[in-house]
Amino acid sequence: MAAPTTLPSALADATRDESSLRRFLHGLPGVDQVGVEQRAAGLGTRSIKKAAKLHAIDLAISMVDLTTLEGADTHGKVRSLAAKARRPDPERPDVPQVAAVCVYPDMVKTAADDLVGTGINVASVATAFPSGRSTMDIKLADTRFAVEQGASEVDMVIDRGAFLSGRYGQVFEEIVEIKQACGDAHLKVILETGELVTYDNVRRASWLALLAGGDFIKTSTGKVQPAATLPVTHVMLQAVKDWKNQTGELRGVKPAGGIRTTKDAIKYLVAVHEVAGPEWLDPNLFRFGASTLLNDLLMQRRTQLDGHYSGPDYVTVD
């Protein structure tokens, strides 16, 4: 096994072979389930109002990975999504652009052509999304295709079956190979926490993905319930924070699926600030995988500025 970067000796040892990897992951401290849920709920009650809320809304908009991952996607729908990414609220040019548009590999070219020169990234899911049930050759080909088409970010899924049966080495190798196939594109590793059952597993999968070189760790595909939850995101934010403490490197976190309201988004931002730290309040290190969230953010933004409640008639229908 080859670690992708030069790591401190303790972490480099962990990736030497499968048994040392297992020893390392099982040696991670267990997650206090009651504690993390209580802390997440407690931080969720923090009240963010007025100017701070407006700032949080703009920050959240700039962190959105505007996503469409439906079997019914068309080129037209992706183009309208790209237009929305560039100018989320056409009546208000001061609304920031979103961070990225996230689509299936065959739609990458459409999105990339429409977003040339805008600074908005094109993210593509790959590796037999959402189940990850295919051969390594096909997963690699899927990834290379997405990058060739113009994706600057790749969202891969891990093999949850292998992870849950304890074949950590296999999952590690897969991430390392996909990372190589990505080239310059950023790699987000989807853990699909809804299938990992325990917080301990989420912590292990997070460390595994970080050790293998994932630039981001992402909660979910959005196809499995429960998708992103606050406590799971807390565990993952702790992982990237610990990673920074040990290696000095900054890695990102992306909760995806089930975040639909501004209120939820702000709870996540509070968690980022308190658990990881203020430097993670940055679109390069924290993202929201969402589709309906953006409209709610725009409506709340209008409510804040207009002084009265807005409605869905004032934002685009996706």
């Binding site: 209008r302 002084g307 009265h308 409640y309 807005s310 409605g311 869905p312 008639d313 004032y314």
Partner: protein, 287 residues
């Protein structure tokens, strides 16, 4: 002497088919016309109104999409359940409005009859207000009435049940959903009505009932971008003009009926017509 403690009812709001307390945690004392304390009612806030509008919007597609026949059946069911609670309503109306039991009986009976009257209208509206328009070409042109959307209703301040029924029933009969701010000083029959709605077949969110200060909540509904019509019946005289002005900012239908409307008289179609839009379509003639 029995030492049993009577179980006092907690009067709450009715939003999205549920009975939440006010988000603000506030309540206010309600007394009868002589000043005797009756109960504490929830004092709704602008955020309760916001939640109620979201619930009403969510319920709109389903309610406006049911067939007129089915909507009539559901509303008739409400009248059936109202009838079963007749005694409770009589005593609440008598204490709330300070009228004799006999008068309260007649008010409650008229309210139930009024509900049945509007329930009967559901499948007749299109026939009466719709039309097949004369055209000079090989196609048909039809105009059909369609519900306006989410209606904010400021219920009459005096008539606590009959007046309330007279303003809610026409809104929901034509397929709209509504957010109602009850009479400020006489809210108790409205809360009991919400229990009737919750236990009949009316889907949650079609009628949302908020108790509290009308002058505090009404401006938020009048300016709300997702409210399509506003009924000013119970609005205090001092804020009527302001409410109309802010309603104009989001192009709402505004019904300007006065407070002193005679609710005991048999109504006409004007309240039904107020919350309907006309859709005209053309259709090529079949051969």
């Amino acid at each position: 002497m029995s030492d049993r403690l009577t179980v006092a009812k907690t009067y709450k709001l009715y939003i999205g088919g549920k009975f939440p307390r006010s988000e603000s945690g506030r309540s206010y004392p309600v007394s009868d016309t002589k000043g005797t304390f009756l109960a504490n009612a929830a004092q709704g806030s602008r955020k309760d109104a916001r939640d109620a509008v979201s619930a009403a919007r969510k319920a709109f597609a389903g309610w406006s999409g049911t067939t007129a026949y089915n909507r009539g059946q559901v509303l008739y069911r409400v009248a059936e359940v109202l009838e079963g609670r007749r005694e409770q309503f009589i005593s609440e109306v008598a204490t709330s409005e300070g009228v004799a039991v006999k008068k309260a009986q007649s008010l409650v009976d008229t309210a139930i009859d009024r509900w049945v009257w509007y329930a009967g209208w559901t499948d007749k509206i299109a026939a009466v207000l719709g039309s097949s328009n004369p055209v000079a070409g090989p196609y048909f042109s039809f105009s059909t009435p369609e519900p306006t959307g989410v209606v904010a209703v400021l219920a009459p301040q005096q008539s606590s049940l009959l007046g309330l029924v007279s303003v809610i029933a026409p809104v929901v009969a034509s397929g709209n959903t509504c957010v109602v701010i009850t009479s400020q000083d006489r809210p108790l029959p409205a809360i009991t009505l919400s229990e009737v709605l919750a236990t009949s077949d009316v889907p949650g969110g079609v009628v949302n009932i908020i108790t509290g200060r009308t002058a505090e909540i009404a401006p938020w509904l009048a300016s709300h971008g997702d409210v399509n019509a506003l009924d000013l019946t119970g609005a205090p005289e001092s804020i009527r003009a302001d409410l109309e002005r802010s309603a104009a900012g989001t192009v709402k239908r505004v019904l300007r009926n006065k407070q002193n409307e005679d609710f005991a008289a048999t109504p006409d179609m004007s309240r039904l017509r107020a919350y309907l839009e006309t859709k005209t379509v053309w259709h090529p003639m079949g051969v």
